[in-house]
């Protein structure tokens, strides 16, 4: 795979300049990390362009692309009309035509309007053409609930998209991943969807010193533990880490596995952790039935059934359109409190068969 580091020397230094504003060079918000990743990519490869609703003049609905129009101009930072199917399809066509589009669908909620293009074209063209065509498009989507945006603006469909062969589904959930996943995605000849949970944009953190690239293929253990494995991704990762801290006070050491890639899944990493802890809780923000957690649970049963000391448990979103009212929305979504109580049950549960 193309090495990011090789290309971003200038990107890094100029980004450093920018970031000086935000404090120490190595500390930045997720939003800025994504922006820096886009800037690097634009500088490294003239074929790269960003296209989506309000990515230009407006500065991006989550301010991710703020300043990029001024830096790269309207041809490469393209404001698109409200035409999700057409501009996503146009991204697919442009990728086939030799460009390297980064298409921003403002939120996953609107991607339903482009789903035909994503499933029937982006995901199928390579196979259906006998390998003649690659579709190196990167689609970025804000995802998730928690901001009281109500039913139509609170979907978490990344696990649902992970059902589709031909797509790669990534969920960058740390500053490092926000900073470097895009380059790896652009270097990949397959269509890649990057899901950015809207709660992550304001998250600040340290960039790992010296890190210059990440891969698209592996899950990462974000916390070591021996008693139970929390399998998760996205914003739920941070809920799990918070829960793990609490549990540690009770002497329960939870391992936290950040999937990073939702399709393909890193089975090896999942099973390795499960075999060690023998207990699993899967946390994801999708509606429970048919969520990604179901696929993960099933793979564990298929591949590590006899290593389990307790049934796999999951913490997901309630089976309802996400409501507006804060107290109802909070009750609908996974929370550290719910994670903690489910973990307690799994750990205390008698594992003898």
């Amino acid at each position: 795979m193309r090495s990011v580091g090789d290309e971003v020397g200038t990107g890094m230094s100029s980004s450093a300049a920018d970031l000086a504003k935000a404090g120490s060079p190595a500390r930045m918000a997720y939003r800025d990390a994504v922006r820096e990743a886009i800037r690097d990519a634009m500088k490294a490869d003239p074929r790269v362009f960003l296209m989506g609703e309000d990515v230009g003049r407006y500065g991006g609905s989550y301010a991710v692309s703020k300043g990029l129009l001024e830096e790269f101009g309207p041809e490469r930072i393209r404001d698109a009309p409200l035409s999700e199917s057409a501009f996503v399809g146009a991204g697919i066509g442009a990728a086939i035509g030799g460009s390297r589009p980064i298409v921003e669908i403002m939120t996953v909620n609107f991607s339903l309007l482009a789903l035909d293009q994503i499933m029937n074209n982006a995901a199928t063209l390579s196979h259906m053409s006998g390998g003649q065509i690659n579709v190196p498009i990167v689609i970025r989507l804000a995802t998730g609930a928690g901001r009281q945006l109500a039913a139509q603006h609170s979907h978490s469909l990344e696990g649902w998209y992970a059902h589709i062969p031909g797509l790669r589904i990534l969920a960058p959930s740390t500053i490092d991943d926000a900073r470097f996943t895009l380059a790896a995605a652009l270097a990949c000849p397959d269509p890649v969807l990057l899901f950015e949970h809207l709660y992550l944009y304001n998250m600040e953190g340290e960039l790992t010193a010296g890190l210059e690239r990440v891969d698209l293929d592996h899950a990462a253990i974000r916390r070591r533990g021996r008693d139970v494995t929390l399998i998760t991704y996205g914003w739920s990762l941070h809920k799990c880490l918070a829960a793990a801290e609490e549990l540690a006070k009770e002497g329960i050491e939870a391992e936290v596995l950040d999937l990073r890639t939702l399709r393909p899944l890193d089975d090896a990493a999942i099973m390795m952790s499960v075999r060690r802890t023998r207990r699993v809780v899967i946390v994801d923000e999708g509606w429970r039935s048919g969520s990604l957690s179901a696929e993960i649970a099933t793979r564990i049963v298929e591949q590590a059934f006899y290593d389990l000391d307790a049934p796999v448990a999951r913490v997901c979103t309630a089976e309802a359109p996400v409501p507006y009212a804060k107290h109802l929305e909070d009750a609908a979504l996974p929370s550290p409190a719910r994670i903690i109580s489910v973990v307690r049950g799994v750990v205390s549960g008698n594992g003898a068969h």
Binding site: G59, A320, P321
Partner: protein, 329 residues
């Protein structure tokens, strides 16, 4: 653009129009404050500047007509007759809200008033409106369906499909495009090559007219004509209301895409100023009338807020209630 005929207007009617616009304006201004106080959360899209469109349109509809709106629908809802208290309680997320707190600002519903929501997907309401009109036609009703949407929605495929369907089947739909020149930060001319929306409507053989959306009397007149034709069975019509949004798109919008001068120029021809000036010139109202209506509106908003504040929350146990209908068959 159709020039208003300046028809003779009665004092009472003038006051009614002014009252409705002031009710909306003061409701929206209060929402702005309440958002700052974190009483209202989520997305909040205010209607300031566009009041004449809602008020001039609703006046031309019957209670039995259906209305489909967008996420910028407070004005439509209030002047449709939904009590401010129920709308405000919804924005608070309270059980007494018109959608029991599940919908919030973008999803105001009141079926008793044939107000079919608040839709947060741009252009998502158009097919629904076509369907309501289809039901009206199949059931031989003389009611019609009014469908509000923005200039940005016109670029969506659903606009194209819905206008064709409504025209092909001669359905009683009044399409009301609130053209405020921007879709979030994207100016109409940077999103659509044909910026005259009436031209697009005619490509579906739909009767269309552009209207000064800052002049409530012009809106009223255009709506009256269109509705009359639609009820006669002439099929759908589209009105392009040329208007402007005085506030940011939502509460997260830094407005980098337009300059103060443009906003100020539009504010000078705002719907309240336009109507008040005319009514005063005609000697139909005085400054006192205006002050009184403004006070009344403020009082109504006060009690709506008090109602919302004192209302109970929906029990958490009812989270999954209404996902499926409670009675079967």
């Amino acid at each position: 653009m159709k020039a208003p005929m300046n028809p003779p207007i009665a004092r009472e009617h003038g006051l009614d129009l002014l009252r409705e616009m002031l009710r909306i304006r003061s409701f929206e201004d209060r929402c702005y404050q309440l958002y700052g106080q974190m009483k209202i959360r989520g997305f909040l899209h205010l209607y300031n500047g566009e009041e004449a469109v809602a008020v001039g349109t609703m006046g031309g509809l019957r209670p039995s007509d259906a209305v489909v709106s967008t996420y910028r629908e407070h004005g439509h809802a209030i002047t449709r007759g939904i009590p401010m208290s129920a709308v405000m309680a919804e924005l608070y997320g309270k059980q007494t809200g018109c959608s029991r707190g599940r919908g919030g600002s973008m999803h105001i519903f009141d079926v008793s008033r044939r107000f079919y929501g608040g839709n947060a997907i741009v252009a998502g309401g158009l097919p629904i409106a076509v369907g309501l009109a289809l039901a009206q036609k199949l059931q031989r009703q003389s009611d019609i369906t009014a469908c509000f949407f923005g200039d940005g929605a016109v670029a969506e495929g659903e606009f194209h499909e819905s206008l064709n369907l409504a025209s092909l089947w001669k359905l009683p739909v009044l399409f009301i495009c609130e053209n405020n020149l921007y879709a979030m930060g994207t100016a109409l001319e940077r999103a659509q090559v044909e910026t005259d929306i009436t031209t697009k409507a005619r490509a579906y053989r739909i009767d269309a007219a552009a209207v000064d959306g800052m002049d409530v009397l012009a809106v009223e007149e255009a709506v009256r004509d269109a509705v009359e034709k639609i009820r006669r069975g002439a099929g759908p019509a589209l009105l392009e209301m040329r208007t402007y949004r005085f506030r940011a798109h939502s509460m997260f919008d830094p407005q980098l895409y337009r300059d103060k001068a443009e906003i100020e120029a539009w504010q000078k021809k705002g719907p309240l100023i336009t109507l008040t000036t005319r009514l005063k010139a005609l000697g139909l109202i005085t400054e006192d009338d205006y002050q009184r209506l403004e006070r009344e509106a403020a009082n109504e908003v006060d009690s709506a807020v008090a109602f919302a504040e004192s209302s109970p929350w929906e029990p958490v146990a009812d989270l999954e209630r209404f996902v499926y209908a409670e009675r079967r068959g």
